[in-house]
């Protein structure tokens, strides 16, 4: 169980020597509790304390990394709900291709090269799952070799046959693949192969008991990087099984099931849309790797967007994107107001303008999610920031006047702003959003 800041503090020397880089032992303890510091930073911590803290600090879900050049890591999650802290590691998205698929190379190239930009991030696929559908070791190894020639993406090698797996691993190129999967009958052989090739190992079983038994055998055989497949039969089953695994790891600290989960979105889906829906659920609810059976740009883009959204750090203040917002379809002659990008500030201003039924332009600056007064006090909503926003969002191309209404709370910056925006007239609006409708009635 994670320790609270005060509990950790009791284990520290309490000398406030500052050598860890934090001003007090309590501050350091709170950072340790938040996992934003390393215990090794304290030169004076006792052996006893080290042990107690290490036990509490061990990640309840193991971090597993697939791949080398285009690696990705999953696991190490600490919460059931993202608002409690954050979800740290985005699930890897993989496409499954059969070793018998004549279009294998095209599909590999498509997955390898697919990239779409969203809010400054390049969203990509993370892995390729190659399935030994032929049942033949040679075909499987051949397909793996062909795929490896086209991509550096990590592979998920899917076969129940240790022989086929061995053949494929030899062609895989040593890029830390995932061996899928060890089950009751082959766990020793699969574990030995994974160990020999530095691969991670997936274990599959239909019950939690079965999974736990397998992970214990695999770890006994020296394989630590494990991935779980609870083999759910339908959507509700997947939600239940994945939730139970996550709870066991986090709330019961149950080590045998403290590993990332792999989801096969296509299993049980009757259409590509149903597969996309299953993948969307897996993103929200606890999958570490999601394998798709079909690749459609619109579907993948939607899933990648959901993944990006759900894995955004919720501890940051809720912000709206900076920009020029249109309210009630404004015309070039309508008023221009400016405010910060703290969501509640934006909502109250936009709400009042919308409610007043007056068309207006609302310029939202990048003020790191702070409210007007806080941002102003911290220098994040000054004349320079506003002038920059006016330029960046090409306000002058959308309106035909040079008047800008600033919040009444920052009346003091009007002079500076007139200097930053030569030729503009700065008007001081009301301090409270509720007074905006009355103010707008007087405009012009």
């Amino acid at each position: 169980m994670p320790l609270s800041g005060l509990e950790i503090y009791k284990l520290l020397p309490k000398t406030n020597c500052k050598e860890c880089g934090f001003p007090t032992c309590l501050a350091f303890a709170m950072k340790l509790a938040a996992k934003q510091a390393e215990l090794s930073a304290c030169p004076y911590v006792s052996e006893e304390a080290k042990q107690a803290l290490a036990a509490a600090a061990a990640p309840p879900i193991r971090l597993v990394t697939l791949g080398t050049e285009r690696s990705f890591s999953v696991g190490n999650e600490t919460v059931l709900f993202r608002h409690e802290k954050t979800f740290y590691h985005e699930p890897g998205l993989a496409l499954r291709v059969k070793d018998t698929d004549p279009a294998l190379e095209e599909k590999v190239a498509l997955v390898d090269g697919f990239s779409v930009e969203r809010v400054g991030m390049n969203l990509v696929m993370n892995a390729l799952a190659i399935e030994n559908a032929s049942g033949d070791a040679g075909t499987f190894a051949g397909a793996v070799a062909k795929a490896r020639a086209k991509t550096k993406l990590p592979f998920i090698l899917m076969s129940d046959s240790p022989d086929a797996m061995k053949a494929a691993l030899e062609k895989e190129g040593g890029m830390k693949p995932l061996v899928y999967a060890a089950s009751d009958g082959n766990v020793e052989a699969m574990a030995a192969l994974a160990k020999a090739h530095g691969a991670s190992l997936a274990v599959k079983a239909e019950t939690l008991d079965g999974l736990a038994a397998l992970t214990e055998k695999a770890t006994a055989a020296g394989v630590e990087d494990l991935v779980l497949d609870p083999m759910p039969r339908h959507l509700a089953g997947a939600l239940a099984a994945f939730t139970q695994l996550r709870r066991l790891a986090l709330k019961k600290n149950f080590r045998p099931l403290g590993y990332p989960i792999i989801a096969f979105a296509g299993n049980g889906a009757n259409s590509p849309e149903e597969e996309t829906i299953a993948a969307a659920q897996a993103i929200c609810k606890y999958a570490g790797i999601i394998v798709l059976d079909h690749f459609d740009a619109a579907d993948v883009y939607a899933l990648m967007t959901l993944r990006q959204n759900i894995f955004t750090d919720p501890q940051k203040p809720i912000q709206v994107s900076p920009g020029l917002y249109e309210i009630n379809s404004p015309k070039p002659g309508d008023p221009l107001m400016v405010t910060t990008n703290f969501s509640l500030t934006y909502f109250s201003v936009a709400g009042e303008v919308e409610g007043a039924g007056k068309p207006a332009w609302l310029l939202v600056t990048d003020s790191e999610g702070m409210s007007v007064l806080t941002a102003w006090a911290a220098g994040k909503f000054d004349a320079e920031v506003i002038a920059k926003a006016v330029k960046n969002f090409q306000v002058e191309s959308k309106i035909n006047h040079h008047k800008i209404i600033i919040p009444g709370f920052v009346a003091t910056i009007s002079g500076d702003l007139e200097e930053e925006l030569p030729g503009w007239e700065v008007l001081v609006g009301p301090r409270e959003a509720v007074d905006i409708p009355a103010y707008l009635k007087l405009w012009q």
């Binding site: 800041g5 009346a411 509720v434």
Partner: protein, 647 residues
């Protein structure tokens, strides 16, 4: 260039020329007329109103001006630009705005308890010694200074030396001869670099005759709003006298941010430094005169104050304090000579500014903790100091954690339409009849009402809420059809006193919905501070065994009402204690006793500062507290019990 003719309320008309685009407030300042800008010229307070009688100006903001006033030519000087026309501008009397007198309570000499551990008598940092010096002669031609040192030998270690400043040395010969070689010397043993009694004392004062029974110091609290001086007899350890006055910097801004911004102006920092030193000198002269001593008889000053105030007192540019990552220039300044600051005490005396923790938790809080003694006790204590900023400390002998939140000046009566300070005529308590909506109230001094002070505002808010005239969301609901709830210029409002019954008969005394929202924000910030602080260390507010309330605010606060609006946590009333000005009490203890001075430094280094702006929990807790009494009504069982359904 346009010529501006200024018509001050007192004194002769003056003319000044100003280029177009100049702020009216700047032009008035150029003419040498004092115009007070309580909000620091930010166009927030509306107090710099002037009347433009001729000519046109451009008003950037018309906040706090009614339509009628606009027609009459009124404008906010700090928000109004000179155009290309000549102007005639009338400046209303500023005097009433200056005379914010602190209520003249019968002057009591405060008694401050010292902790038992403090044994300041055994090894005092300052000593007064009488010297009957053998005059020099042709056979004994030792120099004056060496002669003094020779006579000081009994007070020094063997072969000990004495330090002396150049200005002191320059006066030495004359003092000795004028006094006919019978003098009283003041020696300072305390070594400020090691913070221990040193081997080489400093000779800081020499006066004629035997005056060993007199040795004085001052403990000073520089508040953003008021400054306090205690005159301390360093021989008896008693506080001899005290005096309090508003910080003259208020004219340049009411809160620390406004002052920091003011300090950016050319000459602004120096001006602020002079203002606060001026206030302090006034107080020092006052207590000195009352006790028959000279200010120069004061041999030591210990100063507490928030970090910005300390920076301004030392004229250190405070700008980085307000900007992320909110870092002060210094937390623990070295002592400086009084002469360097212009503080009117012995110029050779050291002025010791106590150490703070960070930008928003300063020496006022570390000194406050010292005064509360919470850092020596096992009981889990919450200490709060509510002023313009709400600072709070949670902890015990084992650990201390602190945070600061901006409450704004609402509880001090500022930023509220009919708000005023707690002076004569301020409404300090209100009751409302739940059936008629009619109020009954008390004013300070039992005179006709002038406005609402902080305690009156809290009382009124609680009454409106408890009687159901205000919803939990802070909106008026005229359940009883009283004419006192009406549509005002800034939305709905409640009339506490009709203008006919007010002191000046000029305007109704009201509380508006905008005021209510301001107050909700202020109380939510403070309560969210408690919640965040307790949560950060994983305890419940209910685990707190004692709540100590410091600051001038504490004296007037009605606990019951403060709980009803959700400002203070709902706890048995006997867990709360009011301590008054803990900052100056701590400064006094540190002045008297070197061990306690060391304790302040220890407190500062031990205290963990929680930066709320880096913390999402604070925003959460704030939103949760933006409700009457709180979104989690179960946190306020005593209030929940009062809220029986209205018929």
């Amino acid at each position: 260039m346009p010529v501006i003719r200024l018509l001050p309320a007192e004194g002769n008309p003056t003319e000044v020329t100003a280029s177009p685009g100049t702020l009216l407030s700047e032009a008035i300042a150029q003419a040498g007329i004092a115009l007070h800008l309580p909000c620091g010229g930010q166009g927030r307070c509306g107090r710099c109103k002037v009347q433009v009688q001729k000519g046109t100006v451009r008003r950037r903001s018309v906040i706090r001006l009614s339509e009628k006033e606009l027609e009459e030519g009124w404008a906010l000087a700090c928000q109004t630009l000179v155009q290309d026309e000549d102007l005639v501008v009338a400046i209303p009397p500023q005097a009433d705005k200056l005379s914010r007198r602190i209520p003249s309570e019968p002057r009591k000499v405060p008694r401050v308890e010292l902790p038992i551990s403090c044994d300041w008598r055994s090894d005092p940092p300052l000593r007064r010694v009488y010297l009957d010096i053998t005059p020099p002669s042709l056979s004994d031609n030792t120099s004056d200074f060496e002669r003094v040192v020779r006579h000081l030998q009994p007070y020094l270690e063997e072969g000990g030396q004495v330090g002396i400043s150049l200005p002191m040395l320059r006066r030495l010969g004359k003092i000795l001869r004028d006094a006919d070689w019978q003098v009283t010397a003041t020696l300072e043993y305390y070594d400020w670099t090691t913070r221990r009694q040193g081997r080489r004392p400093r000779l800081i004062d020499l006066v004629p005759g035997r005056r060993t029974h007199e040795l004085y110091g001052v403990a000073i609290d520089i508040g953003t709003t008021s400054n306090v001086v205690y005159l301390v007899d360093l021989l008896t350890g008693e506080v001899v006298d005290s005096a309090v006055e508003y910080n003259a910097q208020i004219a340049c801004g009411e809160d620390v941010i406004s002052r920091i911004i003011y300090a950016r102006r050319p000459g602004g920092l120096e001006h602020l430094q002079k203002l606060v030193v001026g206030t302090l000198n006034g107080l020092i002269e006052q207590v000195a005169a009352r006790n028959g001593i000279q200010p120069t008889d004061i041999q030591r000053a210990t100063v507490a104050g928030n970090t910005t105030m300390i920076h301004l007192f030392l004229a250190i540019p405070p700008e980085p304090i307000r900007l992320e990552p909110y870092i002060p220039i210094i937390n623990h300044p070295q002592p400086v000579l009084a002469a360097e600051l212009g503080l009117n005490i012995n110029p050779d005396a050291k002025v010791d500014c106590l150490p703070g923790v960070g930008s928003y938790v300063g020496a006022d809080i570390t000194a406050g903790v010292l005064a509360t003694g919470m850092h020596r006790q096992e009981e889990l204590t919450l200490f709060i100091d509510v002023g313009t900023n709400g600072e709070m400390v949670l902890g015990n002998s084992d650990w201390l954690i602190t945070c600061a939140c901006s409450a704004g000046p609402a509880f001090e009566g500022a930023g509220v339409q009919s708000g005023m300070r707690a002076t004569e005529g301020a409404i300090e308590e209100v009751w409302i009849d739940p059936h008629t909506g009619e109020p009954t109230y008390n004013t300070i001094g039992d005179v006709p009402a002038k406005g609402l002070c902080g305690s009156g505002i809290i009382s009124l808010l609680a009454e409106l809420f408890i009687t159901g005239l205000l919803t939990k969301g802070g909106r008026f609901e005229n359940r009883v059809g009283t004419p006192r709830i009406r549509q005002g210029e800034h939305g709905m409002e409640y009339v506490v006193v009709w203008k006919e019954q007010t002191a000046d008969g000029a305007a109704d005394i009201v509380l508006t919905e905008v005021d209510v929202q301001n107050l909700l924000r202020a109380k939510a910030a403070i309560f969210a501070g408690f919640s965040t602080l307790t949560r950060s260390v994983g305890i419940q507010i209910g685990d707190v065994q004692r709540v100590l309330i410091g600051g001038a605010f504490g004296k007037y606060l009605n606990i019951e009402k403060a709980i009803q609006i959700g400002l203070l946590p709902d706890m048995p009333h006997d867990r709360f204690r009011f301590l008054g000005n803990t900052s100056v009490q701590g400064a006094y203890q540190a002045l008297l006793c070197p061990d306690l001075r060391d304790e302040v430094a220890e407190i500062a280094s031990k205290m963990t500062y929680l930066e709320l702006s880096a913390d999402n929990t604070f925003t959460e807790e704030f939103m949760s507290a933006m409700f009457l009494p709180h979104t989690q009504l179960e946190l306020f069982p005593s209030v929940a019990a009062l809220l029986t359904p209205q018929p």
